[in-house]
């Protein structure tokens, strides 16, 4: 298997994890060609996960923007409330196949942790979730959901106490437990084979969009839009269309308080190439190579790295990436709720903003698909505390 996307990706991990990653790679290679594995995964996707998720024509949002037709890919309706399910179910079945009964995972917003807890419950496995102390405080409902489903939640107090630090702790756990434990990484980053494997499991989003839009409009979209933290829902949306040269792709990163401030997570827009947590990619770092703290109102986006395939797509100009500020995302969070009755996750609200901005510039016979990666129930407390809704 190719371990890289251009110069990005690779396998920058301590030696102790190398045998496990090699085992994972070969097991994944076998599983993805095994009809029994694929059938089992498909069964969970359909009957447990609620796939396929709708591709919904957002009429009122389209009218509001006055440009291209806007469709929403409703990953928020996937079981657990986010696209995270797609990857988790695939990897958890793989873990089971490998005979590992204990799952560990990191989580930022808590969506990946929740999905992992769900998969562990339904497959009768054990789950332990690492979550930054700051995220535990701002995503309490998800912490409760994880615990309710039987997962153990470890509060991470090292470093910036956010997603990046939760990943560090998960790697440290794995280094000691690798013989009986499966590290269920939640995004299309980390060491090979995770970026490829997570992308493959998430590509169900883009494959469904293609089929659904053929039925609805008889053609492919002009523009795909998705938010990018680590970048798993975006790569899942984009990847099946990479060979369709007429389909543009736009990733919305968190510009936080603004790209000219220190408080953002716009890795691709303003970061520089480096190596973090197993892969080479764009990073937020200082001149000495120390990783900077990322910021976003959306906990699932504040990661100072990004999946290596996005770095490659940026360099070859196959996809574009833009920053959306906290304020803009909050505006779209409210707007989509009021215009369509859909409360998006704060992460997805970044994509909504970027998609609306583009749609307004496009003609009425063009089509934009925005992936709503998750639902916003988890963010209600944050948003109400900010006084956005009176």
């Amino acid at each position: 298997m190719n371990t890289r996307f251009g110069e990005y990706g690779g396998q920058y991990v301590p030696e102790v994890l190398v045998p496990a990653l090699m085992e994972l790679e070969s097991e994944y290679q076998r599983a993805k060609k095994d009809p029994a594995f694929l059938k089992e995964l498909d069964g969970y996707n359909v009957n447990y996960g609620g796939r396929e998720t709708p591709l919904y024509f957002a009429r009122r949002l389209t009218e509001r923007c006055g440009g291209a037709k806007i469709y929403l890919k409703r990953e928020d309706l996937c079981h657990g409330g986010a696209h995270k399910f797609n990857n988790v179910m695939g990897q958890a079945l793989l873990a089971k196949r490998m005979g590992k009964e204990r799952l560990i995972a990191e989580t930022g917003a808590g969506q990946h942790g929740t999905a992992t807890a769900m998969a562990a419950a339904v497959l009768g496995m054990k789950a332990e979730i690492y979550m930054g102390e700051k995220d535990v405080a701002r995503q309490r409902m998800n912490v409760f959901r994880m615990k309710l489903m039987g997962a153990k939640v470890h509060e991470v107090r090292s470093g910036s106490k956010l997603l990046k630090d939760a990943i560090n702790e998960a790697f440290r756990d794995w280094a000691a437990s690798v013989e009986n434990t499966y590290y269920l990484l939640g995004t299309a980053a980390g060491p090979h084979p995770y970026p490829t494997m997570v992308r493959d499991f998430q590509s169900i989003i883009g494959r469904e969009i293609r089929q659904q839009l053929i039925v609805a409009e008889g053609r492919t979209p002009d523009l795909l839009v998705a938010c990018v933290g680590g970048g798993s829902n975006a790569i899942g949306t984009f990847h099946p269309f990479l060979d369709d040269r007429n389909v543009r792709m736009l990733g919305a990163e968190a510009a936080g308080e603004g790209l000219d401030t220190e408080h953002h997570s716009a890795t691709l827009t303003v970061g520089e190439v480096g190596v973090l947590q197993g892969c080479k990619s764009y990073l937020l770092q200082d001149e000495n190579g120390m990783i900077k703290e990322a910021h976003s109102v959306a906990p699932g986006l504040d990661y100072p790295g990004v999946g290596p395939e996005h770095s490659f797509l940026k360099d070859i100009k196959r996809a574009e990436y833009v920053g959306v500020t906290d304020k803009e995302a909050l505006g779209s969070f409210v707007l989509l709720s009021q215009v369509e009755g859909i409360i998006p996750a704060l992460e997805s609200a970044h994509a909504v903003h970027a998609g609306m901005r583009e749609a307004a510039k496009m003609s009425k016979d063009q089509i934009v698909v925005i992936t709503i990666s998750g639902r916003g129930d988890k963010d209600l407390e944050t948003v109400f505390d900010m006084g956005v809704v009176q």
Binding site: Y12, V16, P19, R172, N288
Partner: protein, 268 residues
Amino acid sequence: MSRIGRAFSNAKAERRTALVCYLMAGVPSMPRSMEMVMACVRGGADVMEIGVPFSDPVADGPVIQEASVKALENGVTPRMVLDLVRELRSRTDVPIVLMGYYNPIFRFGEERYVKECISTGVDGLIVPDLPLHESGSLMKLCRESGLDLVQLSTPLTPDQRAAELANATSGFLYLVTRPGITGGDTGTTPDMERQVRRAHEANNGMPVAAGFGISTPEKVRALRGMGADGVIVGSALVALTLDGSSSADLEKTVATLAEACKGRTGEG
């Protein structure tokens, strides 16, 4: 033979296990770092391993994590660590290995980093998140300039890869005593003896030094009994630089460990 190689062969000639001591640069402070390193040397360290702090030390346990945070708070940069080595070189000939994660090296520029290491008097590098199959360009640069690049091997490493690592490493082979991160009080893996043996079988002239969780003279003696050519003590010493201990305390601890390095082994 490199300065590191000579240190191991001298220890062997004296029927000692070589003692490798690890300290984080800039802890408790940049000026006191020098004093702490010299205390280790006086206590009997054969090789000094100096940590270059990184924001995300994923292979390290709580003690070295805390030391990294402290060093970064003290403003320590890779440049300052190199300057520390330059200054140390005016006082000691002890071999110096820099242990640091890959991103700061990548950011510094591999070529420039290797060049600066040579000019300041560094003898080798340990890059814990750069496994053999990712270290091609750095290894080439190190070979060309005579800098040792130390590979790590673990109890989980399959035999074939362990042999590759034993042949690819230079200076010494770092044998990780158990799966996990640095520090902590753990028993010695019974498998250690086999690990040492397979490394020696693959590359007979290459010294092997065991590290991770080695904190007491008893453990040093146990590893000596298992045939290790060297032992690496890190967290136990770093802890003394974090808890306000004096350099005299540190020297005493190192001397006790050095004593265990020459004691009788289980095999007599």
